[in-house]
């Protein structure tokens, strides 16, 4: 069995770290579905960027994806503010399939008009493709992860307070709006720079699976975020090996098996094992320390 390409390995680990971290935050904000919308909105974004410029350079496509992700994020926020009843799942659920449908319509229109020009490259954004991953992807993922990690580390008290009780955080004078704004931005950035590795269709499953894997093992905010991040790195480390193993076993070396679904399958396995398996840190499920007999 050959070893995976260095860029692919680093990009997968970077994606794991980033989505473990962002996932733990979105989970506590109850915004997993919002992450799903941002990822799906990247698809029409990529296509529009390609249609306008005719270029396949990753920066141009990423910019298109970013603009659409942020745009859809703003629409969700706007709808929730306008119609308080849509709070929670309402607004994202409304836009989720819509954003992907928009991408699919654009995709079929473009196929007819562009006669296969650049299709292969664009298609890798759907499910992720190891062959399409470059060092630029790896550095971007690790860079965004470092920025997000530093932000969460230094503002951990503010973030923990805001996620638990927003009103209270306001009253304590914590920078609620600024922190929420940066977290939204990091989520949009994070989603966009992982498209090549994980793909937009299954990306949000990572945002859900990794924190769920961490949840049963801790009742501290810091440990929860850290554990979710590290489990992401672990899954990211295994993914490229798994892709190579499957490709060599089933005879399509270098093409065919998309990285995204493998990534998500492994993360789901880890989450299931963690939900049903023994606790890692705290030992018993029920912490009875300090209770008088």
């Amino acid at each position: 069995m050959t070893s995976p390409d260095g860029a692919v390995l680093c990009a997968c680990i970077g994606a794991g770290l980033l989505y473990g971290l962002l996932g733990s935050i979105t989970h506590l904000r109850r915004q997993s579905l919002r992450g799903d919308v941002l990822a799906h909105a990247a698809w029409p974004g990529v296509l529009v960027a390609f249609a306008i410029t005719g270029e396949r350079s990753p920066l141009v496509l990423a910019l298109g994806a970013f603009v659409f992700s942020v745009g859809f994020g703003l629409v969700i926020t706007w709808l929730e503010r306008l119609f308080p009843r849509l709070k929670g799942d309402g607004a994202p659920a409304l836009l989720l399939s819509g954003s992907f449908a928009l991408g699919s319509v654009l995709w079929s229109l473009m196929q007819r008009h562009l006669e296969g020009l650049g299709q292969a490259g664009l298609k890798s954004f759907l499910l992720g493709q190891a062959a399409a991953v470059q060092w630029l992807d790896a550095w971007t993922l690790l860079g965004v992860f470092s920025a997000a990690g530093l932000f969460v580390f230094f503002l951990r008290r503010d973030i923990a307070g805001i996620l638990f009780d927003r009103d209270q955080a306001f009253l304590l004078g914590q920078p609620v709006l600024a922190v929420e704004w940066v977290l939204d931005l990091l989520l949009a950035l994070g989603v966009v720079c992982g498209l090549q590795v994980v793909g937009m269709v299954v990306l949000s499953a990572l945002l859900v699976a990794l924190p769920l894997a961490a949840m049963p093992h801790t009742s501290r905010f810091g440990t929860f975020v850290l554990l979710s991040t590290l489990l992401g790195a672990l899954v990211g480390l295994i993914t490229p090996w798994m892709v190579i193993l499957l490709e060599s076993t089933f005879g399509h070396p270098g093409r065919g098996v998309p990285t995204g679904p493998i990534f998500v399958l492994l993360a789901t396995l880890v989450a299931m094992a963690s939900l049903f398996g023994p606790r890692i840190f705290s030992g018993p499920r029920t912490d009875t320390s300090g209770i008088q007999p």
């Binding site: 109850r30 996620l163 638990f164 009780d165 306001f170 009253l171 304590l172 004078g173 949840m215 501290r220």
Partner: protein, 262 residues
């Protein structure tokens, strides 16, 4: 009936012409209110009277359609950190990864800049707060393993560790047993003696009469506000709760007002 301003003390909270609406339904209508500094004030009224809305509006968490609000002499936005709020415990997700100790520490976070780690002072404040509500032995317990009453007390500890001069509490006795309620009411009295102002949404009219020195009767409008002695009378209560309460008054055993009048 207009409220009688407390003659002796300057107000901790002042509301002028405050109206709050959800959609086109007013939740609070033209509220003028002054709550004196250093008082233990009860806010009383039937379900849907706008009690929680009043609390949230006076704290600056809800924007009124009209009106002016001052807390401790400043606009609501200007007194961040000086007001502690104990919301109804259903307002947060108790599956959040935190321990009782973490919750108590959260009250101290506002006074700490982001680059400083938690110091001895913050930990001491949190510990004292937990002792006051009798939860010190559960400091390491995850908050999703608390009973309703314990959750309520953990919320109270978070507010106490903030050491704010003004405490606003929304139904703090929900799910709390009688002896704990006594202990917490004692705690309220001690806090008032130290010069704190407490504003409590409360349902038990007996304890309001016995323990609170100021009260606000609310039913979308302020029906009456003033010292409990002179404000909690039959006429005002009937104006607040409606005529059904008046009927119940004549049947002992059925009314929250039993025994209030000798």
């Amino acid at each position: 009936m207009a409220e009688e301003p407390h003659p002796l003390k300057e107000p901790a909270v002042r509301l002028e012409d405050v109206t709050v609406a959800y959609g086109d339904r007013p939740a609070l209508w033209d509220v003028d209110l002054e709550i004196p500094k250093g008082s233990l004030t009860a806010v009383v009224g039937p379900n849907g009277a706008g009690k929680t809305t009043l609390m949230k509006t006076m704290l600056g968490l809800l924007k009124p359609a009209t009106g002016r609000i001052e807390i401790l002499g400043k606009p609501a936005q200007g007194c961040r950190g000086k007001v502690a709020f104990v919301p109804q415990r259903g307002s947060v997700d108790w599956d959040y990864p935190a321990t009782v100790g973490d919750l108590a520490l959260m009250g101290t976070h506002g006074s700490l800049p982001w680059w400083k780690p938690l110091g001895e002072n913050e930990k001491r404040r949190a510990r004292q707060a937990l002792e006051l509500v009798d939860l010190a032995n559960l400091a390491d317990r995850p908050i999703n393993q608390l009973s309703g009453g314990q959750q309520q007390r953990a919320f109270l500890a978070r507010a106490l560790s903030q050491e704010a001069p003004l405490l606003v509490l929304d139904e703090p006795f929900q799910g709390i047993d009688a002896s704990t309620e006594r202990a917490i009411l004692d705690l309220f009295r001690k806090l008032r003696e130290k010069g704190n102002t407490l504003i409590v949404v409360h349902h038990d009219l007996h304890t309001v009469r016995d323990l609170f020195d100021y009260c606000v009767l609310l039913n979308v409008r302020v029906v009456a506000a003033g010292p409990t002695e002179s404000t909690m009378n039959e006429e005002n209560l009937r104006a607040t709760y409606g005529p059904r309460l008046g009927l119940d008054l004549k049947r002992p055993g059925n009314s929250p007002l039993d025994g209030m009048w000798k």
